[in-house]
C-alpha cells in the first residue's frame, strides 16, 4: 500500500516539477506546481502527518497558488523570451544541479540501512494523535514563536498592501 502510494505520487511530483522546468508559459508552470504540492500532501499523509497534509492542500495548493495564478493573470504574463543570460545558466546550472543531486543521493543511499524504513500512518512516541501532539506542543512550549509568526503575518499583510499601492 505505502510502496504503491510512494511510487505513484513520487512519480507525479517529479513529473510536475519537470513540467514546471520545461514549460515556457508561467500559467502552465503554476498548474504543474499545484500537481507537485498535491502529491506531496499525499506523501505527508502516508508518513503520518495528517495535519500537514491538510495544511499543504489548504495553504499551498489553495491560497499560495491562487495568489500566483492571480498575479500571472493580473500582469498578463506571456511566454518568456530567452536572452544570452539563459545560455550561461543552461551551461552552468544543469551540471551544478546534477552534481548537488548526485552528492545528496550518494549520502542518503549510503546510509539507507541506518535510516530505516517507514510504515503507513503515524507512530509517534506515547501520544494520542498527530493533531493533538502538534497543538499541544504549539500552544505550550512553542507559544512565543507561534505568537511571533502571527505578528510576522500581520507585517507581511501591511508590507504587501504598501508595496502594491499605486503611488510607490
Amino acid at each position: 500500500m505505502q510502496t504503491a502510494l510512494f511510487i505513484i505520487f513520487g512519480i507525479a511530483a517529479i513529473a510536475g516539477a519537470l513540467n514546471l522546468l520545461f514549460q515556457h508559459h508561467p500559467i502552465n508552470s503554476a498548474l504543474s506546481l499545484v500537481v507537485v504540492m498535491m502529491s506531496l500532501a499525499v506523501l505527508y499523509w502516508s508518513l503520518g502527518a495528517e495535519f500537514l497534509a491538510a495544511a499543504q492542500v489548504i495553504v499551498y495548493a489553495g491560497a499560495v497558488m491562487v495568489l500566483f495564478v492571480f498575479v500571472v493573470m493580473l500582469l498578463n504574463a506571456g511566454v518568456e523570451e530567452h536572452t544570452s543570460g539563459s545560455k550561461i545558466a543552461y551551461i552552468a546550472g544543469i551540471p551544478g544541479a546534477a552534481a548537488v543531486f548526485a552528492l545528496l543521493a550518494f549520502v542518503f543511499l549510503k546510509n539507507k540501512a541506518a535510516l530505516g524504513t517507514t510504515q503507513l500512518g503515524g507512530d509517534l512516541n506515547n501520544v494520542v494523535s498527530n493533531l493533538t501532539e502538534i497543538s499541544h506542543t504549539l500552544f505550550t512550549s512553542l507559544l512565543l514563536p507561534f505568537e511571533a509568526t502571527s505578528i510576522l503575518i500581520l507585517v507581511a499583510i501591511l508590507g504587501a498592501v504598501v508595496l502594491a499601492r499605486k503611488e510607490l
Binding site: 510502496t3 510512494f6 500537514l52 500566483f68 530567452h82 539563459s86 544543469i94 543521493a105 517507514t118
Partner: protein, 100 residues
C-alpha cells in the same frame, strides 16, 4: 515498507529541479515558483525525519516553514507587481538598474 532514504532521494530530486528552474527560468514569477518548489522539497525531508525519530518536532518545523512561505509569497508577489508597474517587464535580464 519504503526506506526513509527513498523519501530523502525524492526530496533531493525535487530540490535539484528547483535549483535548475531557478537558474534557467527568466520570468520572475516562475523563478519565485521554483523557490516554493525548493521549500516544499525541504519540507518533505523534515516530515520524513520526523517519521524516522517518532517525534513531532519536525512537523512543527514544517508548520513554521509554511507560515513563513505564505508571508513571503504575499510580499514577493507585491514586489513583482510594483516591479511590473515601474519597468513594464517580467524578464529578470531587463531588471538591471543596480548592475555596473
Amino acid at each position: 515498507m519504503v526506506p526513509i532514504a527513498y523519501y530523502l532521494v525524492l526530496a533531493a530530486i525535487l530540490f535539484c529541479i528547483g535549483i535548475a528552474a531557478f537558474l534557467i527560468k527568466r520570468n520572475v514569477i516562475t523563478i519565485f515558483m521554483s523557490i516554493e518548489l525548493m521549500l516544499n522539497a525541504v519540507n518533505l525531508t523534515f516530515v520524513a525525519f520526523a517519521h524516522m525519530w517518532h517525534q513531532v518536532s519536525g512537523q512543527i518545523f514544517v508548520f513554521f516553514v509554511m507560515v513563513v512561505a505564505a508571508a513571503e509569497a504575499a510580499v514577493g508577489l507585491a514586489i513583482i507587481i510594483a516591479l511590473f508597474r515601474t519597468r513594464q517587464t517580467l524578464n529578470v535580464d531587463s531588471v538591471n538598474l543596480m548592475k555596473n
